[in-house]
């Protein structure tokens, strides 16, 4: 094979400079600046002030930072802000926005079924689910639990989360039988 090219490589974005980054955040164009090393999670929270996306482990394990990038559920802590430039980013704040300002059926079900306690994990789980249920609208409990393995929730033990999803997708949760039918403060 002949040399592919003798032209000098193009100039990269310099480490010490802040570069313009424009994303479509929940349907609205938002711009800010980022050093190349800035994580998307920090860009959302510190640069754009969108605090709905949470940060737990910063190495991809806990799932708290999960957002949709061009529709695809991804770890914001494993994405650079400069990589997100020009892309569509959906975060938990956008769910109600896209539903006429009211919580979505899934969010309502989370409340009804005690699918959250402290809520730290919830934003990430909802964003995973919003991608996952678009692709697989009626998962079995086994499939759902496999998907949830990408999130750590230290409070709920996942049973309420599974019930909430099964409630809105019309599936049945094996764990349903062991729970009181309805909590009295709902």
């Amino acid at each position: 094979m002949p040399p592919l090219s003798s032209s000098p490589p193009p100039a990269p974005l310099a480490a010490e400079a802040r570069h313009p980054v424009t994303i479509v955040l929940n349907g609205r164009r938002r711009s800010g600046h980022a050093h190349p090393r800035l994580l998307l999670s920090d860009f959302l929270r510190h640069e754009l002030g969108a605090h709905g996306t949470h940060v737990g482990c910063e190495h991809g394990v806990c799932g708290a930072c999960t957002v949709r990038i061009d529709g695809v559920a991804s770890r914001a802590c494993l994405t650079l802000a400069v990589q997100a430039d020009g892309r569509r980013i959906d975060t938990v704040e956008g769910l109600a926005d896209g539903n006429g300002g009211r919580m979505t059926a899934l969010q309502e079900a989370f409340r009804r079924h005690h699918a959250l306690q402290c809520g730290f994990c919830t934003a990430g789980i909802l964003m995973s689910l919003s991608d996952y249920l678009d692709r697989n609208p009626k998962p079995t409990e086994e499939e759902l639990r496999d998907m949830l393995s990408g999130h750590l929730c230290r409070c709920t033990g996942y049973a309420g989360i599974v019930r909430a999803v099964m409630d809105v997708t019309g599936g049945t949760a094996a764990s349903q039988a062991h729970q009181p039918a309805e909590a009295d403060h709902v």
């Binding site: 094979m1 990269p12 974005l13 480490a15 010490e16 090393r37 991804s74 998907m147």
Partner: protein, 278 residues
């Protein structure tokens, strides 16, 4: 945990990427899905001067089954391969093993080539590549070369790939009619790296077992079938293989437990591969 500073390049073409990598030398690194590299950057285990992003290069989006090979380009994600409707016929072992690679959310970004370049000894994709007799296609600014998977991995996070080369694609042989395949692994939680992963293929009078998570790289061994069945002395053969693999005690498991898993899961997957021949 924030990465140390680096320059960032999003090349428009593969040519630009390879030129930048050649110029950057040891100080440059490519990033594909970032699902292994970003954690290492965040923990400052690696501190490159220049990051070259392969993620958006059209030229690396190849995903084809042709001429007896499934070819997967460097920008193709684990999720995209898993969603391929014909995967279970083409490379059944990969269809069985990919659901074990991380989680839905990490498979949305992570690539097969990235996993092969990363060369974690317990990773499933390198194991499948070795088990099926696949190959790794390497490319730098001047030439392309193809390396059999069995010769590619040298040890933990170490391969024959030179600093100026990228993994352009990985190639898995398409499963032959009449062959059988099975995969199992044991890990702390589903989606964690394997303590032991076993991949078996039965094809053309030969049974092959590949094991990940024990030795410093995925390793395989083959035995001839006897009267169409597994050899009578398989237990002894598996025991010898388990000892030859070595393996150490670590925070996840003892070497002895790993040997036991190789003996037990090894037999199970070989039997499964034999009985599911198509």
């Amino acid at each position: 945990m924030k990465p140390a500073p680096f320059d960032y390049l999003r090349p428009a073409t593969l040519t630009e990427a390879l030129a930048a990598l050649a110029a950057g030398g040891d100080e440059a690194r490519v990033i594909a899905g970032g699902q292994s590299l970003m954690p290492m950057l965040n923990m400052r285990l690696v501190q490159p001067r220049l990051l070259i992003d392969l993620g958006r290069l059209e030229e690396l989006r190849t995903l084809t089954a042709e001429d007896g090979w499934l070819t997967v380009g460097a920008a193709v994600t684990q999720g995209q391969v898993l969603a391929r409707p014909t995967l279970a016929q083409e490379v059944p072992l990969l269809a069985a093993a990919l659901p074990w690679v991380g989680h839905f959310q990490t498979r949305n970004r992570g690539t097969l080539c990235g996993s092969v370049a990363h060369a974690d000894p317990s990773a499933e994709t390198p194991l499948c590549l070795v088990a099926t007799g696949g190959e790794v296609v390497l490319r730098n600014a001047w030439r392309r070369r193809s390396v059999p998977a069995a010769d590619f991995f040298l040890g933990p996070l170490t391969t024959v790939k030179a600093a100026d080369e990228i993994v352009e694609c990985v190639r898995f042989p398409l499963a032959k009619p009449g062959s059988g395949h099975a995969f199992r692994e044991v890990s702390m939680r589903h989606g964690d790296f394997a303590i032991v992963a076993c991949a078996a293929t039965v094809d053309g009078g030969q049974a092959t077992l590949a094991v990940g998570g024990v030795a410093d790289r995925p390793s395989r061994r083959s035995w001839p079938l006897v009267d169409g069945g597994l050899p009578a002395d398989l237990d002894e053969a598996l025991n010898a293989f388990a000892w030859d693999l070595g393996g150490d005690d670590d925070q996840h498991a003892t070497a002895r437990y790993r040997r036991d898993l190789v003996r037990r899961i090894g037999r199970t997957v070989l039997e499964e591969a034999l009985s599911c021949r198509r």
